[in-house]
């Protein structure tokens, strides 16, 4: 019986007249990879901001490992489409940035940053400044920075949204590899249905106005996954299902 890591209990958020997120309940199992798909403006980022503690929900509770963390920060890893690397720090120092923001960075922190960077293809860029890196490389650094926070729960908000299709596929395979090695729990927002199916154990589909969960689908596709996964009948079937939900009816 897998344990529940995160629980949203009737969490909602209204901005003025806009119901960004209707009261929503959701439970996330430890170690799982959950994709959240929905059209732009359906409240996905709002949900993340609530979980991260940046926004206080209008009602409801955010529970992590049984403890309420509603509207408090410092409990999750968080990454956006914008890599938010700081240009004045090298790759190594960007990876340790989260630590530097809470305490003094030790030699062990640096050693760990170098170790994960080497392990996942960034070894030769450790002393580079971010401006010298490609978009895909920058997102890898941003993810490494999220990883060394040692948070179990990682919130990734369309992290590959700005990358070209080829790089995006590479990044997806790369992410699955890191996820498998590190045993973290990932909540992954995307509006790309292929991406959501390729990556996840489970797909949460949201609808706009007001943003709410309309379906919660198990993803039966076997791992490890690769290009071949994209052609399997289960993949196509699941894709048809999700697209149908997103576009309100049959295809």
């Amino acid at each position: 019986m897998p344990t529940t890591l995160l629980e949203l209990r009737e969490v909602g958020k209204v901005f003025g007249d806009t119901v960004a997120l209707a009261p929503t309940s959701l439970a996330i199992e430890e170690g799982s990879f959950v994709a959240i798909v929905g059209p732009s403006g359906c409240g996905k980022s709002t949900m993340f901001n609530v979980i991260a503690g940046l926004l206080r929900p209008d009602g409801g509770e955010v529970v992590l490992r049984g403890a309420t963390i509603t509207a408090t920060t410092g409990h999750v890893g968080y990454m956006l489409q914008k890599d938010l690397l700081v240009p004045w720090r090298t790759v190594e120092d960007n990876i340790t940035m989260a630590t530097r923001l809470t305490r003094r960075v030790t030699d062990e922190d640096r050693a760990e940053a170098r170790r994960v960077a080497r392990q996942y293809g960034l070894g030769e860029f450790l002393r580079h400044y971010p401006s010298a890196l490609s978009g895909g490389m920058r997102q890898r650094v941003a993810f490494m920075r999220t990883l060394v926070t040692h948070q179990q729960l990682l919130l990734l908000d369309e992290p590959f949204g700005a990358l070209d299709a080829q790089t995006r596929l590479e990044m997806q395979e790369w992410l699955l590899r890191v996820w498998k090695d590190t045993g973290r729990t990932v909540l992954f927002i995307t509006h790309d249905v292929d991406e959501s199916i390729f990556l996840s154990d489970r797909i949460v589909v949201m609808s706009p106005r007001p943003g709410r969960v309309v379906a919660d689908l198990a993803n039966p596709l076997p791992r490890p996954r690769g290009i071949h996964t994209l052609l399997e009948p289960e993949f196509i079937a699941l894709k048809a299902r999700v697209l149908g939900l997103l576009h309100g009816g049959d295809l």
């Binding site: 940046l54 004045w88 530097r100 400044y129 401006s131």
Partner: protein
């Protein structure tokens, strides 16, 4: 690399030499009387021949410039930070500092002499008065434009306000900060000279020039002006140097090896 040095150092020197050349051309070709404008060489000789008299005065001007500049930079930065962080203070103080800059500094000098006497203090105050403003305005602007997503990310990590300020907001504002510091550097010497003109009873570079002027020693007047200008340019270049040194990421793609290495790093 060599090409860049050539461009950055060679071209400015060339353009200054060009100015001297044009000066020479106008004076010689236009048969300008030497009491109106001396030849460049005469102006320079007027300085070098009086070097032992001038050097202490130059040092005095440099001292006023440095003290006033450092005070103005620190004050300007602090004021910018406080105004950026506390909106009420910003609303209260902004009009005051605007008015402070609208006051003609020359008119201010006698008042400062009345209050502070003839020593170095009124000169420092004038330099500070001129320097703090561009620093404050630029720091305020820089801190106001730090990416809110970046600040949110720091919050998600559980960063304190202080660490967010030191690790994110200040480094993110270096470009505007140095804009303010560079503008201030160019004006600092002007402030010191104004201070010397209005508030010196004994020796100073400004009074030396005034004395030369009343003796119709035009070459010395021009020469002193060149000296003053050079002090300003040297100070400006120093600040530019500081900027270049402290912002390596703006020119390099790979960081220099740093003195602190992890003990376990096999690549050294």
């Amino acid at each position: 690399m060599r090409r860049r040095v050539l461009l950055n150092v060679g071209v400015p020197i060339l353009s200054l030499l060009l100015v001297l050349g044009v000066w020479q051309l106008i004076v010689v070709g236009g048969h300008v009387a030497s009491y109106i404008a001396p030849r460049p060489r005469a102006a320079i000789t007027a300085v070098t021949s009086q070097w032992s008299t001038l050097w202490p005065l130059i040092l005095g001007t440099i001292r006023e410039t440095i003290y006033g500049y450092l005070l103005g930079a620190v004050l300007g930065f602090a004021l910018g930070v406080v105004m950026a962080k506390i909106p009420v203070v910003q609303r209260l103080v902004y009009p005051v500092i605007l008015v402070s800059q609208a006051v003609p500094v020359i008119a201010l000098a006698p008042v400062l002499v009345i209050i502070l006497g003839f020593g170095i203090v009124p000169k420092i105050v004038i330099v500070t008065w001129i320097v703090f403003f561009p620093v404050t305005v630029n720091v305020l602007d820089g801190l106001g434009h730090v990416d809110p997503d970046l600040k949110n990310l720091a919050r998600v990590y559980g960063a304190s306000r202080w660490r967010t300020f030191v690790q994110i907001e200040v480094p993110a504002s270096t470009t505007p900060l140095f804009s303010g510091l560079k503008i201030g550097a160019i004006y600092a010497v002007t402030g010191a000279i104004i201070g010397e003109l209005a508030a010196s009873e004994g020796n100073s570079l400004a009074l030396y020039q005034e004395h030369a002027n009343s003796n119709l020693n035009t070459a010395a007047v021009y020469g002193t002006t060149i000296v003053m200008t050079l002090i300003g340019i040297a100070w400006f270049l120093l600040v530019v140097g500081l900027e270049v040194w402290s912002t390596p990421w703006q020119r390099r793609s790979v960081a220099r090896r740093r003195w602190r290495r992890g003990a376990d790093d096999p690549t050294g």
